[in-house]
């Protein structure tokens, strides 16, 4: 029943993109996202497209993995495309119907926004497809480190995320068990109106919640007995290596950012 929930979409591999430092990947994605929305000029959109194609090609992740997450996104992309198509009233009129008039500006704007969203989704899924959740948390913790100076509990945040990731499969397993136990008592999760089905899940969620609290307490005792005292004075087992490939990736994205700024504001 819950089999179709994919936890962490990571696809194992050894491609150049897989081996990039998660910090590099995160910064690159951030730059890409910001400057993609600055880009209007065909040149900078072209560069963005090139980068996406390059990353996509290097990552070597089968297309089906992208498509799996795309169905919902596709609706949004089509919707925004249509919205821009009908709402923009610029440029020469292409054709007129009794209901709407389509302008050339509308088509261009629609395509632009559509392409932007598509590239964004591709790059974002590329990150989760090629990086293990553990590496991602490590990368985030490391990037958030400067914020520690202003009192942000960076270690605690990263640690919380990593514990949550560790327990998702365990909790799913438990949810399955409870669902089966409730089904054995006559609960019905697959019939009736949506409201009825949602209500049928209450007897699953309550024991799951209680169990999670018990687990949390056990875990706290186990952690304490293993000497956990927060982030102070802690050493790290996993460390991240910044390699030449990471610098290259960063340089490429910086060049793209400059192109985007230049074509948008200076041309």
């Amino acid at each position: 029943m819950l089999d179709h929930i994919i936890i962490g979409q990571y696809v194992p591999g050894h491609s150049k993109v897989h081996r990039l430092d998660p910090r590099a990947k995160l910064i690159c994605l951030m730059l890409f996202m910001v400057f993609l929305f600055v880009s209007r000029h065909p040149l900078s959109i072209g560069v963005a497209l090139l980068i996406a194609v390059l990353a996509f090609g290097l990552a070597n992740v089968p297309l089906t993995f992208y498509l799996r997450g795309m169905r919902f996104i596709a609706i949004i992309i089509i919707f925004t495309f249509l919205l821009h198509l009908f709402m923009t009233k610029e440029g020469p009129v292409l054709f007129t119907t009794p209901i709407v008039t389509i302008y050339l500006g509308g088509v261009l704007e629609g395509v632009l926004v559509g392409v932007r969203l598509l590239l964004l989704v591709i790059m974002a899924s590329l990150l989760t497809l090629t990086t293990t959740p553990v590496d991602l948390t490590d990368g985030m913790e490391s990037l958030m480190l400067p914020l520690k100076k202003v009192g942000m509990p960076t270690h605690e945040l990263a640690f919380m995320i990593s514990i949550a990731l560790r327990f998702i499969p365990t909790l799913l397993e438990e949810a399955m068990k409870i669902i089966k136990a409730q089904m054995a008592r006559g609960a019905n999760f697959t019939q009736g109106s949506i409201w009825k089905r949602v209500k049928a899940f209450v007897p699953v969620l309550v024991p799951l919640f209680v169990q999670s609290l018990n687990r949390a307490e056990d875990l706290a005792i186990a952690m304490e007995s293993r000497g956990y005292e927060g982030g102070e004075g802690r050493t790290k087992f996993r460390i991240l290596y910044w390699k030449r490939m990471d610098t290259i990736a960063l340089v490429i994205l910086t060049l793209y950012s400059m192109t985007a700024i230049f074509t948008r504001f200076l041309m």
Partner: protein, 284 residues
């Protein structure tokens, strides 16, 4: 013999005032390198006693717990005590913290600030002792119950404690997992020279120990070598413990007038039982 490493004096404990005592007047010493099994029925206080051993519980009133001479009442000793006495708990799912096996083994070392080079060494070593090579990158939820408990034990011995306390560490496992974990606990005791304190309600697991401590309603009923405890039917009945299969066969036969004890004074496993039965048959 070896020196005393755990000394408990007049320990009494209740969770809240006006509630019945969980432990009453416990006196106990444990020597280095011993294998102790604490057995008792549910609510006998055995798990509470265990939590005093690594300063998770602190004695109030006049009771005292000394670990390697350190009084757990003093705050500055508590960190040291937890380094000396490590604990493995019942539920394998609730004590693995990290997303992969090697990260989890390293968790305790990270907490105590061990330098990374040494950490890698020690993680590797512990993984080898617990026979988990090849599972380093595995996620905990893909392991069997027995394997998870082995990971938990590996994480504990990586910290090089002197004493390992196993608080019902096998009670949630299937028989195969139990056997597997017991095998590795023996290894930890024999090869790594650790003092093992096992808490269980299964007498089968107590056979390997040097001493069995039988508890009931917060009191120690008996503190003796396994054979003596297992043979004491009166005691087992009183403490609501199920005798091991071999001893049950012996006592049932005794009721029928067949005394296997005369043939072989030491029957602890099935092979010895079968041998004794064969000898008896030949004598007929």
């Amino acid at each position: 013999m070896n020196k005393d490493i755990v000394r408990i004096h007049n320990l009494s404990f209740q969770y809240r005032p006006n509630e019945p005592y969980v432990l009453t007047d416990i006196n106990l010493t444990i020597k280095e390198r011993e294998w102790i099994t604490i057995v008792g029925h549910n609510g006998s206080g055995k798990s509470s006693l265990a939590k005093f051993l690594n300063a998770l519980f602190i004695p109030d009133e006049d009771g005292e717990v000394y670990i390697y001479g350190l009084n757990t009442k003093e705050r500055q000793n508590q960190g040291k005590v937890r380094k000396l006495v490590a604990m493995v708990f019942q539920n394998p799912d609730n004590q693995l913290v990290a997303p992969t096996v090697e990260d989890d083994v390293a968790f305790g070392l990270e907490n105590t600030g061990v330098p990374r080079e040494e950490m890698i060494e020690r993680v590797k070593e512990s993984i080898k002792i617990m026979g988990l090579e090849g599972f380093e990158k595995q996620e905990p939820h893909r392991l069997s119950g027995g394997q998870k408990q082995r990971v938990a034990i590996a994480g504990v011995i990586a910290m090089k404690p002197k004493v390992v306390v196993l608080d019902e560490a096998t009670s949630m496992l299937d028989p195969v997992g139990r056997k597997e974990v017991m095998e590795y606990i023996r290894r930890v005791h024999n090869d790594v020279n650790m003092t093992v304190i096992m808490i269980t309600h299964d007498l089968n697991e107590a056979l390997f120990s040097d001493r069995i401590i039988v508890m009931k309603e917060g009191k120690i009923l008996k503190d003796a070598p396994p054979i003596e405890v297992l043979r004491d039917e009166e005691l087992l009945k009183k403490s609501l413990l199920k005798p091991t299969f071999e001893f049950e066969v012996q006592s049932k036969l005794k009721e029928k007038g067949i005394n296997l004890f005369e043939i072989s004074p030491q029957i602890t496993n099935q092979k010895e039982l079968v041998d004794a039965l064969c000898t008896w048959k030949q004598k007929m």
